[in-house]
Structure formats: structure tokens, C-alpha cells
Amino acid sequence: MIKKLVLSKQSYSQLGIVLFGSVFGLLLMMLSIQLYMDIKEAIDKKKETIGSHFLVLSKPVTILNTLSNTPSVFSSEELEVIRTIPGIEKIAAFKSNAFKAKAGFALGGNMMYSDMFFEAVPEDFLEVEPGKWNWQNGRSVPMILPSEYLNLYNSGFAPVQNLPQISKNAAKVSGLKIQVSGNGGNEEFEAEIVAFTDRINSILVPESFIDYANGKYAETKKEGSSRVVLMSKDPSNEKLMKLIEDNGYETNMELLKSGKMSLVLNVILGLVLGIGSVVVLMAILGFIQYSQLLINKSTYEIRTLLQLGYKVKTVFVKYLSFYTVVMLLVFVFAGIGLMLIRSTLTDYLNEKGLELPGSVHFLVFAVSLFTIVLFLVINAIGTYRSIRKLAMPA
């Protein structure tokens, strides 16, 4: 009955506006923190795939290469020039196959063979589980494929050919075979995909496999390589950039781009966080005004209750419990909003080939809970003071 008396003078339209503002502000805050964490994790994960500071350089292909059928390769002088740039830790040329190769996939019950090429880089440029990347004759050949290949198959090839789509995990366990031929002999190997990468646009196998097969089945000996991979403390260092530009080397700028992209994203998310915080702050102010208004409208009820002998605490608790329920509602609604937006976003980004980590970050809850408690404390102090003022003799 006391609750009914002191909370009866609500203005539901005003309460609704204040509630909407709080939910909106809190949601913006939660979302910006969550997305910041998501993107940070996604970028960290990407970096881990092939290490943090790797860059692949390719020689430019000209019409001359096409006409003469001689690939343009890095000379040892060129490699030496790159190696002397400060900050470059190591550099290695790609090894490629000089034998004929076909890979067979089990698709819809049939084996489907396709001509293939393979390349290898030293193991210390890759971050794969130790042991998985060793190949000895008699064991299955581990492979790393570009994520793009699977995307191409799933979104382009499979629907048109009426073939089933394959997830990354399914691809890793499906039976693969590699046929190698040349020099009048041939041999078949079991193979397995151990990882997908966005970094190196090639089909990677262990060096030991390339060496073994090249030695046995290569008909001509290949000189040089058209691609090198390098490890640098700072891939965006100026000297390296100038060298790449001067020689017209092509590079996967992804790492550089993603570095810049994450900077831009951080700025945008910082902005969203800022706006969210301002909206939350305004919502808190709005709530304080609303609760003052509510108390002002209920002055007669509160004063009379106190004059009948009710304690300030008794009346105050009614308000506090009301605000607690309201703020929990705000928290729940903002939380639901966050989940909805995030799952939509995750689906969208998955379609685009970017995987977000699964869960809502702990920090999001911590910050929003802190905000809510802050609101409650600020509002509680104001409310308590107003009620006590009504209790004292005039």
C-alpha cells in the first residue's frame, strides 16, 4: 500500500522516454566494447595463423614472361638487398613442385581429380603444431589451403555442380589423395588439410615432401622462385615499402591493411563508445530528473506517511526497489539488444569469411553492471536526501 502511494504519480510517457534513452545508451556502450574485443581477438587470431609480421612478395608478371614462357624470379642479389633492410629478420624463397601433381577429393562418393601445384616455405614461417608439419615417406601429407579456395568452392562451384558444401572442419577430415608423376614413374599419397590461411595464397606442403618428390619425379630443374616470404619486426617500415614500390613487387597487403583497418575501426568504436557514454550520462541525468519529479509529485503522500510515523528508510526502500527493477530491465533489454545485433553481425561476417569468437566478453558485463550500480547509487543518494528533507520539521 505504501508502494502504491509513493509510486502512483508516474508519468509513463516520460518514464518510457528515459527508459529508451538508457537502454539505447547502455546498448551502444556494450556494443562498442564487445565489438572492440571481437575485432581485437579476430585480428590477433589472424596474426597467429602465420605469425604476426610476415609479408609475401611476388615478382611482377609482364607480357614478356607470358611470351617467352620464362617465369620472372627473384635473383640472389635481389634477395640479398631485401635481407639487408633493417628490421628484416629472415627471408625465404618459396619452393615449388617441378613434378606433375593431381589431387583427388572424395565428392559425393566419387573421387574427383584435379591438376595441382604445391609450394613450401620453411616451417619457422608457419605456426602449425610441431610434429604436424613433418613429413616422412609413408605418412599422409599435411596441407595448408587458402580460406579463399574453400569459399570459392562453397559459394561458386558446389551450388552450380550440385555438390554438397563443405565446412572448414569437414574439409579437414575428408579423405584427400595426391598423385605425383613424372620421369616415367608415379606414386599416390594420402593427404590431409591441417589448416586454412588467409595469408599465403598458395597450397602449402612441407618442404621435405617437395624435396622428395622433386628429386624423384622432376623432369627439369627449376631455378629461383617468383615469391618470397619475409619476417619483419615492422612490415610497414618505410625502407621496405620504398623497395616494394621501386621494384614493383606485388604483396599481400592484407596485414598492412588490417593494421590500418583496425586503427580506423578502433577510432570508430572509440567514437561509438564516446557517444554511448554521453547517452548513458544523459540518461542518468534524465533518470535523476525523473525521480525528482516523481518525488515532487508525491510530496503530499511522502510527507503524510512520515507524519503518520513511517520512517524515511521505509519510504526510501520502496523507491530504491522500484529503481532497481527499472535498471535491471534496462540491463536485460540492452543485453538482449546486444545479443541480437551481435548474432546478426556474426552471421553476416561469417558469410564474408571473418569468424568472430563465440561469447560476449566479460568486460561488457562488468562495465554495464558498473554503470547500473553507479546510476543506482547516484539516484539513491538524491532520493534519500529529498525524502529526509520532507521528514524534518519545517
Binding site: 500500500m1 505504501i2 502511494l5 502512483s8 503522500e301 503524510t304 506517511l305 512520515l306 507524519q307 503518520l308 510515523g309 513511517y310 520512517k311 524515511v312 528508510k313 529526509r388 521528514a391 524534518m392 520539521p393 519545517a394
Partner: protein
């Protein structure tokens, strides 16, 4: 509990007060005695009970409960006095219009667990307002509201019953009934009575008359 007024002068009367009557003098309200406060309008009858009940403190001088200055009381101390020690019927009644009569009364009774519904119903019967108990206060006449407010101030234990013009909207028959009930309850609690009156004929005899 004795209530002492020591040279109390209300701020609004400070300039117009030429000689000390009640205001500006010392006066003791003795435990268990009955006091009739008589005065024309505007001389501070309601002010007197407001000071005792802790509603106002716009005065110079000292008000004491058993020798303790009330100006230092906290809001919780006042709350305790108002639920156990002092019971007041306000001149403007201060009922909740949107609540029913019984809800208004229960709001007061809930402060102490010793009052039951049958006691409230008996009082309502005596005062002829039993049929109104479940009606909203805003639908009642002033005389009916006055009797509801009167019942409300009886559903708690008290040392002092403070009635501020309790009969203003009542006829003589109802005044007589109310006087009987007042006498009964003051006896029950061995309580003192301070009643302010504006020109009503009263049957009850008071031990003291205070002129302000």
C-alpha cells in the same frame, strides 16, 4: 511524559506579541491531564500542536519532552514518537483521497501489530461510518472524512492525544459520541489530551484550559 514549553514564541507572532500570554511564558503539560486550547483564529492553536508533534520548528525558546529538547530529534526519533507516543488528528485531516477509509486506517494500524479489524469496525459502528469503510475517501463528505481521520488516530498506542479542531464539521450528536470515545481511549492508555476548539459547545470537562 511531560511536555514543557519554555518561553516559546512562534516566529510569525514575534512582532505582534505585546505581552506574554501562553507564548513567551513557561507552561507544563502534565502527563495524563486534559487540556483545552481556546483562542480565536490566527492566534496559534494549530501552531501549538504542530510544535509538539514536530511538524514545525519556526520558534524561539525550547520545547521539551521530559526535559529533553525536541529540536535535536532525528527523523527516526520523530517517527518513533509518532507511532508509539503521540497521536495526532490534523485540522486538515491528511487522508489519502485515492485510498478507501479502511486502507487509510490500516496504514496507521500497520505501524503496530496490536490492532485488529474488529476494533476498527466497532469504532466505525459507534461513529456511524461503518458502511463507508470500503469507500474511497474522496467520495465522502467532510464530516465523514473527519470521523475516519479520528478513527485513524486511535489505532495506535499513545501518551498524548493531540486533536486539532476535531469537531469542526460535526453536529452535536456526533460530538458527544466522539467525546465518549476520547475519554475511553485516554483512560485506556492513561494518556493526556490536548484539544483545540473554535467555538464549539463541548460537554466534556477539561482539567486545564489554555488561552493563547
Amino acid at each position: 511524559m511531560d511536555i514543557a514549553f519554555k518561553k516559546v514564541i512562534p516566529d510569525p507572532l514575534k512582532d505582534s506579541l505585546t505581552e506574554a500570554t501562553f507564548w513567551g511564558a513557561d507552561y507544563l503539560f502534565e502527563k495524563g491531564s486534559t487540556y483545552l486550547v481556546n483562542a480565536p483564529s490566527g492566534k496559534g492553536k494549530s501552531t501549538l500542536v504542530s510544535y509538539i508533534y514536530g511538524l514545525r520548528k519556526d520558534y524561539s525558546g525550547v520545547v521539551q519532552f521530559d526535559g529533553i529538547d525536541v529540536s535535536g530529534f532525528s527523523s527516526d526519533q520523530w517517527a518513533d514518537h509518532r507511532s508509539l507516543n503521540l497521536s495526532m488528528m490534523f485540522q486538515d485531516l491528511r487522508l489519502f483521497d485515492e485510498l478507501t477509509a479502511i486502507e487509510n486506517i490500516k496504514l496507521k494500524a500497520d505501524l503496530n501489530s496490536q490492532f485488529n479489524l474488529s476494533e476498527i469496525e466497532t469504532l466505525a459502528e459507534e461513529l456511524g461510518v461503518a458502511f463507508l469503510l470500503n469507500k474511497k475517501v474522496k467520495l465522502m463528505s467532510m464530516g465523514q472524512q473527519q470521523r475516519i481521520a479520528f478513527i485513524r488516530c486511535l489505532v495506535q498506542p499513545f501518551n498524548w492525544l493531540l486533536l486539532d479542531e476535531p469537531y469542526s464539521h460535526l453536529d452535536d450528536a456526533n460530538v458527544a459520541i466522539m467525546e465518549q470515545i476520547i475519554a475511553r481511549y485516554c483512560k485506556k492508555y492513561e494518556a493526556g489530551l490536548i484539544l483545540t476548539n473554535l467555538g464549539k459547545n463541548l460537554n466534556m470537562t477539561f482539567q486545564h484550559t489554555v488561552s493563547v
